[in-house]
């Protein structure tokens, strides 16, 4: 009984203390509300909440990165499992410098390189929101364990010294308030460059190619510079703002993957003036043409036309179709035609998009990812959901690498103006999480070489000594 009381009393005391702490709020409602808006603009929830009914901001989402899986952390004000013990300074350092309260560096999956742009008042508002606007979740998120040597967090200090700019937004003259606001949001909170800017060998953003497009896990974040063919030069600012609000631009493009998450959790909730500002800024960027995947020399939004190959599959039976030379057409008919139409035309109301005049079918990466992973996007206009065709429990049909490759080639050629260059190996790469970074191999090879050099040195020294002894 005594032991029981010993255990219970601290718990009860703790509860009382918590309750009293909760009663004395440190921040006013307006500040917390501003923090909530900034947290929405920063899309914290997309990464820091596990899919399928995870508690908001409690972490646990597993994100595939080119160097391994990273698990997001609990950033609720739980003192035990979250960031409830963080001082405002510690919070600011995590946000803008990528340094945790214990001094350990964060991995740059946390976009602190972008958040470095956040102003002190905004960091203060965010702190207020995270301390008093988010319900504490008393549950630990699983730890991230990257493969060696990426698990040596201290290496990030070197990375930060090389690539973290503490003042990322240079002073400029003669820019409008709208442009400045757009830049602040796009380069800061909304961290567009985290996905859309190509990265170098050490995973750093290549600033000279800002927003020119990059592979992000299983998806390709396309070129959103105003280049007329490689980028979104053919979009008006109003169209870009509409896309950010709704996730789609009929006859051009729609958001999937992590952009769908950004639309769902972030952009669709921002004020119109802020969306306009972001669009205004993005459209002012220097146009870039990487000449890479997804930019075949003509705008990716107007490719292809309606068409089908039903005459070559119909009437011979499913098994024959699946074994025959028209595999792609057969897979399309069985899996895609019910919604997107026999000829890829979609529906007249646009609820099911056409597959021609649609950037999703141009370039192979996002086409493969859309097939394997589907689309899931929520806005005020409703919940857009295309089922996946990968290995998921809810996959409408589980398509093999060969079937997806044939389908991607059929769609790519018919509707995306592409060639039939997708191979089953390409599907396997996207299925397992996207291309891996050579960084891991480089680091390991580098260390192996280091070890070999050391061994060689040791060997030489020993031989010399032996030589001396023998002499």
């Amino acid at each position: 009984m005594k032991a029981f009381l010993h255990r219970v009393i601290p718990v009860v005391l703790g509860l009382v203390l918590c309750a009293s702490a909760g009663a004395s709020r440190r921040f006013d409602a307006a500040t917390i509300e501003r923090g909530r808006y900034l947290a929405t603009a920063s899309d914290c929830i997309a990464c820091h909440t596990a899919h399928h009914n995870g508690a908001p901001m409690a972490g646990g989402l597993v994100m595939s990165s080119p160097v391994g899986d990273i698990v997001s952390t609990n950033i609720t004000p739980s003192k035990r499992h979250g960031i409830g013990d963080y001082t405002e300074q510690q919070f600011a350092d995590a946000l803008r410098k990528g340094i945790r309260a214990d001094g350990q560096p964060l991995y740059p999956a946390m976009p602190y390189v972008s958040y470095a742009a956040l102003t002190d008042p905004d960091v203060h508002a965010l702190y207020a929101y995270f301390m008093e606007g988010v319900p504490a979740v008393e549950k630990a998120a699983p730890h991230t364990s990257l493969p060696f040597p990426m698990n040596v967090r201290m290496s990030m200090k070197v990375w930060n010294a090389l690539f973290l700019d503490p003042q990322p937004l240079a002073r400029t003259e003669g820019r409008s308030a709208q442009w400045l606001r757009g830049r602040y949001l796009a380069e800061g909170a909304a961290h567009c460059s985290t996905c859309h800017t190509p990265r170098g060998a050490l995973m750093q953003e290549k600033k000279e190619l800002n927003m020119a497009g990059s592979q992000v896990g299983q998806w390709y974040a396309p070129n959103i510079t105003p280049h007329p063919t490689a980028g979104i030069g053919s979009w008006s600012e109003a169209e870009l703002a509409q896309y950010l609000r709704t996730g789609r631009l009929e006859g051009k493009s729609q958001a999937a993957g992590s952009m769908a998450e950004a639309i769902t959790y972030s952009f669709s909730h921002l004020e119109q003036a802020d969306l306009d500002a972001i669009a205004h800024y993005i459209k002012s960027l220097p146009p870039v043409d990487l000449g890479e995947t997804g930019t075949p020399g003509a705008p990716r939004f107007g490719q292809g036309q309606a068409g089908h190959a039903l005459g070559e599959v119909r009437g011979q039976g499913y098994a024959a179709g699946m074994a025959g030379p028209q595999l792609g057409a057969q897979v399309y008919s069985a899996n895609c035609a019910s919604c997107h139409g026999a000829s890829g035309e979609g529906t007249r109301d646009g609820y099911y998009p056409s597959l021609f005049h649609n950037s999703a079918t141009v370039g192979k990466t996002n086409l493969i990812a859309a097939i394997l992973l589907g689309v899931d996007r929520k806005t005020a206009d409703g919940h857009v959901f295309m089922p996946p065709f990968g290995d998921q429990p809810n996959a409408l049909n589980r398509l093999s690498d060969k079937e997806v490759a044939a389908l991607a080639n059929y769609i790519g050629v018919k509707f995306g103006g592409g060639d039939a260059s997708v191979k089953p190996e390409d599907i396997a790469v996207i299925r397992q999480g996207g291309p891996r970074s050579p960084l891991l191999t480089m680091a390991r090879v580098g260390m192996a070489i280091g070890v070999l050099v050391l061994l060689a040195l040791a060997f030489t020294i020993v031989r010399r000594r032996r030589g001396k002894v023998g002499a």
Binding site: R314, G315, Q316, G317, Y318, G321, Q330, V331, S333, A334, N335, S338, C339, Y352, D376, G382, H383, F385, M386, P387, Q392, P393, N394, A395, L396, N397, R398
Partner: protein, 548 residues
């Protein structure tokens, strides 16, 4: 963990009832092995089977589900009575269809999910006919709500449009998870015509994602192809849940035809024996067994499992196994209308007049549920147009006219349980050498009288109000493929097969959930009640496994 030799619970059948039970058990940490007689096929294959059919066979919902040789099921448009899987006799033919595939017959159900009413469950007490249920509506209500959320059943939030009607004092414990689907033009007109005669045509509560994704499945795309297959999985069918069950640890063994349930001297079930597609026999042991193979295959398997101690088959000390076979005998009125109705916009069944299934007349004759079938008509009328000898544009114009200006109105009746409506084992054998089911059936005077004095006269009034210029009314009852009664539920082991948890009176660790347990049919489709009984059984199984 379950393996292919034994499991905590062995479930025979991967249809909607078995799947609902399996998930509940898995969530409770109980290992599950499921045996499925038929093959496991992809939705892609079924969809293409349908598309490749000649038009004449597209109206038969079984056509795109060719049976495996070892797991035959009825194929109405291909069979002769002599070689048919179901050997039928009696004044009315119990011509059911069902699918022996992983996922079962919800592959081609319409998704219609009418609850029973309190009165439907006390026919004996209230009207002096049929049987009362072993419990009242209040017991079933929470399970109905669970089914609606498990399967994703959409329906109206307005109590005035809900079923059962508010007059029977049946508050719903939870709202539907999704709103109803909008009416197409034909249903809209039908609703107005019904209202002009004083009848309320209400939205069908149905297992279909209305305007939103649900259960990680997409929204209905209005392909009007719910029967025979939803191409996108917007309609719930049990095949959509199989991957999820496996992700939770279930082992699903397809092409495993259970042919004997083995009881020990104490009457407890020890094992199920099955044949694979190479005719090899396997034995699967377990602590508890669930037969959820539908209202024909479950009694058949019990009868096939007879041994020295159980000469009439398992679970059959009452001699009720295979008796009381029931369905919803239906008559279809095919109408030619003076003005276009345009059936076929939206799902195939989307509304119905249910109030005509209730009333004091039930002491004299059956009630009926009237529905405007919302199947697109072109599939059915094309041959009529061809038979008129038309070609070219005239043919197109006639197909279009008849697609718009014809309609089917279906009168679905209830039927009473009767011991002579009976499933037995035929002397004819299937591919594996197992006996085919033989079924004797007579819908009975109670139902016939309804057609004579009630449902057909009512249907004719509605047809006239719809502007029918021609009316063809079926003279023989057709079956609705809602198989009920063969393992009937009751408190008394002398005249019923299962207890209120669908546990066999004779075998403590054998459960027979589903339509077979239903003690009355009412007029609405049976699936939601079958699954509600399945979830009730699942709760009992979890309790029982916890005690073991």
């Amino acid at each position: 963990m379950p393996n292919l030799k034994s499991a905590d619970v062995v479930i025979v059948g991967t249809g909607v009832v078995g799947v609902a039970i399996a998930e509940k058990l898995l969530d409770a940490g109980i290992g599950v092995l499921m045996l499925e007689a038929g093959p496991r096929v992809s939705r892609a294959e079924v969809v293409e089977n349908f598309r490749n059919l000649p038009l004449a066979r597209k109206g038969d919902p079984s056509s795109c589900y060719p049976p495996a040789p070892w797991a035959p099921h009825p194929m109405p448009s291909l069979e002769t009575p002599e070689d048919a899987y179901l050997q039928l006799s009696g004044p009315d033919k119990y011509a059911q269809t069902f699918i022996r595939y992983a996922g079962g017959s919800t592959w081609h159900w319409a998704g219609t999910s009418w609850r029973l009413t309190p009165d439907d469950m006390r026919l004996r007490t209230k009207y002096g006919v049929g049987r009362d249920w072993a419990f009242g509506y209040d017991t079933l209500e929470p399970y109905y709500a669970r089914v609606e959320h498990l399967l994703g059943i959409c329906g109206p939030s307005d109590p005035g449009l809900q079923w059962p009607p508010v007059e029977q004092g049946t508050p719903r414990s939870r709202p539907y998870p999704m709103p109803p689907l909008p009416f197409g033009p034909g249903e809209q007109r039908f609703t107005e015509v019904a209202a002009s005669l004083g009848y309320k045509n209400i939205p069908t509560s149905q297992a279909r994602n209305s305007g939103m994704p649900y259960d990680d499945r997409p929204a209905c795309c209005a392909s009007n192809n719910c029967v025979p297959v939803c191409p996108v999985g917007a309609k719930y069918d049990a095949a959509t849940a199989l991957g999820r069950l496996e992700s939770k640890g279930a082992v699903i063994q397809a092409n495993a035809v259970a042919y004997r349930v083995e009881a020990n001297a104490a009457g407890r079930i020890e094992a199920v024996h099955y044949l694979d597609q190479d005719k090899r026999s396997h034995r699967v042991a377990g602590k508890l067994f669930v037969l959820a193979c539908n209202g024909i295959e479950t009694p058949k398997l019990l009868l096939m499992s007879k041994d020295a101690r159980h000469p009439n088959g398992l679970a059959n000390s009452s001699d009720q196994v295979g008796r009381n076979m029931m369905d919803h005998p239906q008559l279809t009125m095919t109408l030619t209308l003076s003005e276009p109705y345009w059936a076929g916009v939206g799902p195939v069944v989307n509304s119905g007049i249910m109030e005509t299934s209730q009333g004091d007349f039930r002491s004299e004759h059956a009630g009926a549920y009237l529905r405007f079938n919302n199947f697109a008509r072109n599939r059915f009328v094309t041959f009529n147009a061809l038979n008129k000898g038309l070609v070219g544009k005239a043919l197109d114009a006639e197909i279009r006219r008849m697609t718009a200006c014809t309609a089917d109105v279906v009168l679905a009746h209830e039927v009473l349980p009767h011991a002579d409506n009976r499933l037995t084992l035929s002397g004819k054998k299937d591919w594996l050498g197992l006996p085919k089911p033989a079924i004797h059936y007579d819908v009975g005077d109670y139902t016939r009288k309804s057609a004579q004095v009630y449902s057909v006269p009512l249907g004719k009034r509605i047809a006239q109000a719809m502007g029918a210029t021609d009316m063809k009314i079926a003279t023989k009852f057709a079956q609705s493929k809602h198989i009920m009664g063969g393992t009937i539920m009751g408190h008394d082991p002398r005249d019923s097969v299962v207890d209120p948890d669908c546990r066999a009176h004779d075998h403590d660790n054998l459960f027979l959930p589903g339509g077979g347990a239903m003690a009355s049919t009412a007029c609405g489709n049976s699936t939601i009640t079958m699954v509600a009984l399945g979830l009730k059984a699942a709760d009992a199984i979890v309790r029982q496994m916890g005690r073991a």
